[in-house]
């Protein structure tokens, strides 16, 4: 537990180090989530279009 406390305390810099990592996770995850949602939206529309005309050429 001592080791964990040490890591969490960050030698007194906890209030700078942890927010920096939190912002990093937030921004990286936000990029992925936004990109993935946009992909799903377009992919759904494309699938719906293809389903509406089954004997499309190609």
């Amino acid at each position: 537990m001592d080791r964990l406390d040490q890591v969490l305390a960050m030698g007194g810099y906890a209030r700078f180090v942890w927010p920096a990592y939190a912002v990093a996770v937030l921004i990286l995850a936000g990029m992925a989530a936004q990109s993935y949602r946009a992909w799903q939206r377009q992919h759904r529309q494309w699938s719906a279009f293809q389903a509406s005309r089954p004997q499309r050429r190609r």
């Binding site: 890591v7 030698g11 007194g12 700078f16 920096a20 912002v23 990093a24 990286l28 279009f49």
Partner: protein, 254 residues
């Protein structure tokens, strides 16, 4: 290069490559975070606050790298009018803006304990803030036109003009007296940073690069599918208005 610049081929290639890139990003990010938080030693001057470096520096590198990519793709789009180049540029811009924002926020969180200030108008910080504005300006300009082709061209010109900011960012710490420290990794004579910190830093940099590559491919695929959906709808409208009309729009995009 031209062979890979065909949207159909890009869809196939990126479909195969993307899972590997994403897996590599996840693995290297996990490893990098572990090394950065638990293995790397505290700095003899900065103590544990130095750990902010492991997100700040890779974010800063990506901010500049993605802009270079954006400028290069814009040049290709302007010179060869290749549709994939515009798609690549527009897919990269929001990612670059996010990395730049991350760099500025983490830099601020590092500046307060080390310099005693969240922000200072020195050359490095100011030029990176300008980079963020360039990204935002590019995105706004591209989306500001009803005609997407004109928007893309205007954006590409802005991206190319803004590229002059990249050497200013890189050399700002040498040209002016900045509070920001000079380069310690990419410098003549090799890195001045110890391996115990350099290795976690490079692992995080690889993680950020793979993360960018994965999301870039995903966003480009999204844009290509979106253009197929648009073309298909156009094809349906045409086929309704003229029953014997050619079904080109729907057929040619697949």
């Amino acid at each position: 290069m031209q062979r890979f610049a065909n949207p159909g081929r890009f869809m196939r290639l990126s479909g195969q490559l993307m899972p590997w890139c994403a897996t590599g990003a996840a693995v290297s990010l996990a490893l990098g975070l572990y090394l950065a938080l638990f293995v790397a030693p505290p700095d003899y001057q900065q103590g544990e606050a130095v750990r902010i470096m492991f997100v700040h520096v890779p974010a800063a590198w990506m901010a500049s790298f993605v802009y270079a990519f954006l400028a290069l793709a814009s040049a290709v789009a302007l010179i060869w009018r290749h549709p994939l180049a515009d798609i690549a540029a527009q897919a990269a811009a929001p990612l670059g803006a996010a990395f730049t924002l991350l760099c500025l926020v983490t830099g601020s969180l590092w500046g307060e304990p080390m310099w005693g200030t969240w922000w200072v108008w020195d050359a490095r910080l100011t030029s990176v803030l300008v980079l963020l504005f360039l990204y935002v300006g590019y995105i706004a300009l591209v989306n500001g036109f009803d005609d997407s082709t004109r928007g893309a061209r205007a954006g590409a010109v802005l991206a190319l003009v803004g590229a002059v900011n990249l050497p200013i960012i890189k050399f700002s710490v040498d040209w002016w007296n900045t509070l920001h420290q000079p380069a310690s990794v990419f410098r003549l004579g090799g890195p001045t940073i110890d391996n115990s910190m350099l290795v976690p830093l490079l692992v995080m940099a690889v993680a950020f690069m793979l993360y960018f590559a994965s999301l870039l491919m995903l966003r480009m695929r999204t844009a290509i599918v979106a253009s197929r959906v648009r073309a298909a709808r156009l094809g349906e409208v045409e086929s309704i208005s003229e029953p014997h009309g050619r079904r080109q729009a729907a057929g040619s995009v697949g």
